[in-house]
């Protein structure tokens, strides 16, 4: 008999996890944010070329496990739900490692009338309540400023050749397989140097990403080179991604189509576009901001864990 049957997380950690989930629910209950549940399996799926969905079948038709509950939650918002939150397992194929598990727990919430900075304010309140350690510190840095501080270049005005020069100038390794894709180079400089240099024990909000990485965020009203998307890091560990939400159905449809064009070029599977989400946007999504936080990563921060397995009851299902 092997020891494989045993949980990968200590009981102490599981108790702390339960406490965290309770405080999250209490936090939103106090603020009259409604807890909701939405389908985990659906006909339509995310089109983002960087995210792969697990698929399954029902009556010989393809269905997909959600990678975030975003589309359904937006349909609720458009139907008049008001502020909502959800704590749910989500699934991402091909993501496994010390900071990744193919299934993980996400906290996602939406606030009507909030812009992305107001939502960051609320995230600070929530995280301050969850952390057991005394003082916790936050900083906010724009994506543009981060590149200027680190490399003395404006990421919005730099083409791929300038980004390559930066890598050379700062002695940054070039990963095998890089091509002339500008976003690929921005991502590389981001993870290798900028996030890596974030102060260790504080939370960093990085906001206003390049428009080419808008995902489901609206473009900035004053500067369309940037999108009102943000991420939260603890040290260099990414914890959350949020948007001042795009409400324009036509723009959303264009982004979905463009994702599938990129997928086709890269030889990836084309994904079924969520027409119901587009119809919901057409009928009217209220002005809102939303964010998704990886609860397992938050648990890693709280417990000081080096591997995500240490905070998941059975975290080794996909290893070996």
């Amino acid at each position: 008999m092997t020891q494989r049957w045993q949980p990968t997380a200590a009981l102490k950690t599981l108790k702390e996890r339960a406490r965290i989930l309770q405080s999250i629910r209490a936090f939103f209950d106090q603020r009259n944010v409604l807890e909701v549940e939405t389908p985990v399996i659906s006909r339509a799926a995310i089109t983002d070329p960087q995210i792969e969905s697990f698929s399954t079948q029902f009556h010989q038709k393809d269905f997909y496990l959600h990678t975030s509950p975003e589309f359904y939650m937006k349909r609720l918002l458009a139907s008049g739900s008001g502020d909502i939150y959800q704590i749910v397992k989500v699934f991402r194929d091909d993501e496994n490692g010390k900071n990744h598990n193919p299934e993980f727990t996400m906290l996602e919430w939406y606030r009507l009338g909030f812009n992305h900075h107001q939502l960051m304010d609320e995230m600070e309140l929530l995280l301050s309540r969850l952390m057991i350690k005394g003082k916790i510190k936050f900083q906010r840095l724009s994506y543009q400023q981060a590149f200027i501080n680190q490399f003395e270049i404006d990421p919005f005005d730099s083409d791929v050749f300038q980004l390559k020069q930066v890598a050379e100038r700062f002695n940054i390794e070039t990963p095998q397989g890089m091509d002339d894709d500008r976003d690929m180079w921005l991502d590389w400089l981001m993870v290798e140097k900028i996030a890596a240099d974030f102060p260790k024990d504080i939370f960093t909000f990085l906001y206003d990403y390049p428009a080419s990485q808008a995902s489901l965020a609206r473009l900035d009203k004053e500067d369309s080179r940037k999108a009102n998307r943000f991420e939260l890091f603890y040290g260099e560990l990414e914890l959350a991604n949020g948007f001042y939400e795009l409400t324009d159905a036509d723009e959303q449809a264009k982004r979905f189509d463009n994702d599938n064009i990129v997928r086709q070029q890269r030889g990836q599977k084309l994904m079924p576009i969520d027409e119901c989400l587009l119809d919901a946007l057409k009928s009217g999504l209220p002005e809102c901001s939303g964010v998704a936080i990886g609860i397992d990563r938050v648990m890693m921060v709280i417990m000081g864990a080096d591997h995500i397995n240490e905070v998941i009851s059975f975290g080794d299902e996909f290893s070996g």
Binding site: D48, Q50, I51, D94, E95, N96, G97, K98, N99, H100, E173, P175, Q176, G177, M178, D181, D183, M184, D187, W188, M190, V191, E192, Q213, S215, E231, E238, N241
Partner: protein, 189 residues
């Protein structure tokens, strides 16, 4: 030509990098939630033994190295090559000095070694962790001096020189750790 995609990377996987066979020690996925994924890989060059780090864009394919470990018996050394035989198939291979690194001085005929073959040719020969060898030359033993420290050099039948306690005499069998090159104990006959 066989190859591995980055999502098949795991410890122990053997790859060709810059024409040399390498073995993965550690593979870490680095992926922004909404961005390009990368694999940071730590690996050992099996020819030089050096550890190197390299990053791959996720999804890249890398040529697989046809590298296997086989237990083989040392037969003899003709001054140019070291000959080993697979005791199951009786197949023989000839390893150059460079493949032995430090192993050569620890082995005698019939010693079972791990021979790492790359495309069928010996790449590295690893001696067993512990070997038993006779002392062929050392200063006379000091009777009664079994407790105190103090060491002297002793030449073993395989040619290695190790530090041994003062009471060891020529002709005795010793157990030696080949990784540290240290004397472990006398072997009772």
């Amino acid at each position: 030509m066989a190859s591995y995609s980055t999502n098949e990377f795991r410890g122990g996987l053997k790859l060709i990098l810059d024409n040399d066979p390498c073995s993965i020690i550690e593979n870490e996925l680095v992926k922004p939630g909404k961005g390009q994924a990368f694999n940071r890989v730590k690996m050992r060059n099996l020819k030089t033994g050096r550890v190197l780090e390299k990053t791959f864009k996720s999804g890249e394919s890398v040529e697989a190295a046809d590298v296997i470990d086989v237990d083989m018996e040392f037969s003899y050394n003709d001054g140019e090559f070291w000959y080993f035989m697979d005791p199951n198939t009786f197949e023989q291979v000839a390893a150059p000095d460079s493949a032995l690194v430090d192993s050569g001085k620890w082995i005698k005929a019939q010693e079972l070694c791990t021979v790492t073959l790359w495309n069928g040719a010996p790449l590295v020969v690893t001696a067993p962790n512990f070997v038993e060898l006779a002392v062929t030359e050392t200063d006379p033993g000091l009777k009664g001096d079994t407790a105190q420290g103090g060491t002297k050099p002793a030449t073993l039948e395989s040619g290695a020189v190790v530090k041994v306690p003062l009471f060891i005499e020529e002709g005795e069998m010793l157990k030696v750790d080949t990784r540290s090159g240290e004397y472990v104990s006398r072997v009772k006959s």
